[in-house]
Amino acid sequence: MALALQTFPTVKDANAALKAAGTRYLGGGTLVVRAANEGDVSVSGLIRSTDPALSAIAVAGGKARIGASVTMAAIARHPDLGALAKAARAVGGPAIRNTATIGGNLFAPAPYGDFAVALLALDATVDTEDGELPIEAFLAKRDDSRAIVSSVRFTLPKADGFRFLKVSRVKPKGVSVLSIAAVLERAADGTVSSARIALGCMADRPMRAKAAERALKGKKLDQNGIAAALAAATEGTAPITDPIASAWYRAEVLPVHLGRLLLA
C-alpha cells in the first residue's frame, strides 16, 4: 500500500496534520519507512516538517538542546558533544547514523534505541508540541504520544561522569544484547554521591536500574563497593527475547557488563 507524504514548514502545522487517522511522523525513516516496507498497513500517511529548528544543536552554559531531526552522525561529530559521541556511534552503521534522528530514537523499540538509554541516564527533558516532559515520563507514555517531539535538552555530563556501553555479538557493529549508560558523581573521598543508571533491552524500552543506583550510593567504585549494585542490577527488569539473545541470557550477563562499566 502506498503512502502519502505531507511536508510542512512548521512543527505546529505538521502536528495539526498528525491528528488524522493512520498518520505517522517521519523523522529519518529508519522506523516508519521500515514499518511500511514490512507491510504495516496501519500507516497510510506520513507527516514531516522541514522546520530548521528541528535540525539545530545549541550548546551553552553546560547545557545542550538538540533538535529532534538531528542525526546520530551530527551528534557524533559535534565538537561540544564529545561525551555523547560513543553513544551516538553505537547506533547502526554509517548510513543509519546519517539517517536516524535523536527524536526517532526516543520511539525505537528494544533492541533499538541505544541513544535513548544515554538520554535517560542524562535525565533529559523532551520538548513536544504539547509541552515538556522528563524523559522517564515521556518514555512511559510514548506509545500514545501524538505530539511531535521538537527537541531534547540535558545538562552536559562532566568529562569522566558519563559512561556508556553497548554489547553486541557482531563486531564492530551489531544489534544490542544490551546497553548501559550511567551518570556517576563522586564525593571527594571517591564514594558515589549520586548515580543514574539506564538500561537498554532489559524491558521493551529504556529503563532505570533504580535498585542498583540506590546500592551504589556511598560506595566506592571497586569490587567490594559495587557488589550490592550488581546483585540488584536485574531488579524490576523484564528483558526482551529476540534472535540476538533470550531474556534469560540478558539477565545473566547484565551484572557482568554493569560491573565492567562501573570498574572501567
Binding site: 502506498a2 503512502l3 507524504l5 516496507n37 547502526g92 552503521g93 548510513a95 539517517t99 564492530p172
Partner: protein, 160 residues
C-alpha cells in the same frame, strides 16, 4: 494515489520523474529510472545493499523516500566508471576477488567511496567501521577490506 514530481541529479545527469507519494528512492531508481545498481536486500536498513550517496552522505535508498530527495545530488555505483574505465574501487574489488555473488558489492563500494572521499588513506579499523552497515554472505569480508585498502593505496600512488 496521487503522483508527485521528483527531480534530482543522478550520477551527474538531471532526472525528473513522477512517482507515487511514499515511493522509496530505491524503487524510484530501479523501477522508474532504470538504475539497478542499488539492490533491494532486506528493505529494513539492515543489509546495506541499497546504499547510495546523497549530497556526499552514505544513505540507504530503501529507507529514503524519493520525494525527500528533490534537488539532491545522488551517486550510485553505476555512475562510477568513466568512459569504460572502472573506478579504482571497482578495479580493486575485481583484482582482489572481493565479489562472489555480487549482490552486496554496489553497496560496499558506495560505503567505501564515502570513506575514501573523506579519508584517502584509511586504517584497517576505519575500513571495517565504514563497512559495518553492509552485510556480505559470501566472502567473509576479508577480501572486501583488502579491496578498499588496495584502492586507497592506488589512489595515493596516483596522487603522488
Amino acid at each position: 494515489m496521487a503522483k508527485v514530481p521528483v527531480q534530482f541529479t543522478l550520477n551527474g545527469s538531471e532526472k525528473a520523474e513522477f512517482v507515487e507519494s511514499g515511493t522509496t528512492l530505491l524503487n524510484a531508481l530501479r523501477d522508474k529510472i532504470g538504475d539497478t545498481s542499488p539492490k533491494g536486500g532486506c528493505h529494513q536498513g539492515t543489509c546495506g545493499a541499497c546504499s547510495v550517496i546523497i549530497d556526499g552522505e552514505l544513505r540507504l535508498s530503501c529507507l529514503t523516500l524519493a520525494e525527500t530527495c528533490n534537488g539532491a545530488a545522488i551517486t550510485t555505483t553505476s555512475g562510477l566508471a568513466e568512459g569504460g574505465v572502472l573506478h579504482p574501487l571497482q578495479r580493486a574489488f575485481l583484482d582482489t576477488f572481493a565479489t562472489q555473488c555480487g549482490f552486496c558489492t554496489p553497496g560496499m563500494i558506495m560505503a567505501a567511496k564515502v570513506l575514501l572521499d573523506h579519508t584517502p588513506n584509511p586504517s584497517r579499523d576505519e575500513v571495517v567501521e565504514a563497512l559495518s552497515g553492509n552485510i556480505c554472505r559470501c566472502t567473509g569480508y576479508e577480501p572486501i577490506i583488502q579491496a578498499v585498502l588496495t584502492a586507497a593505496r592506488a589512489n595515493s600512488q596516483n596522487a603522488a
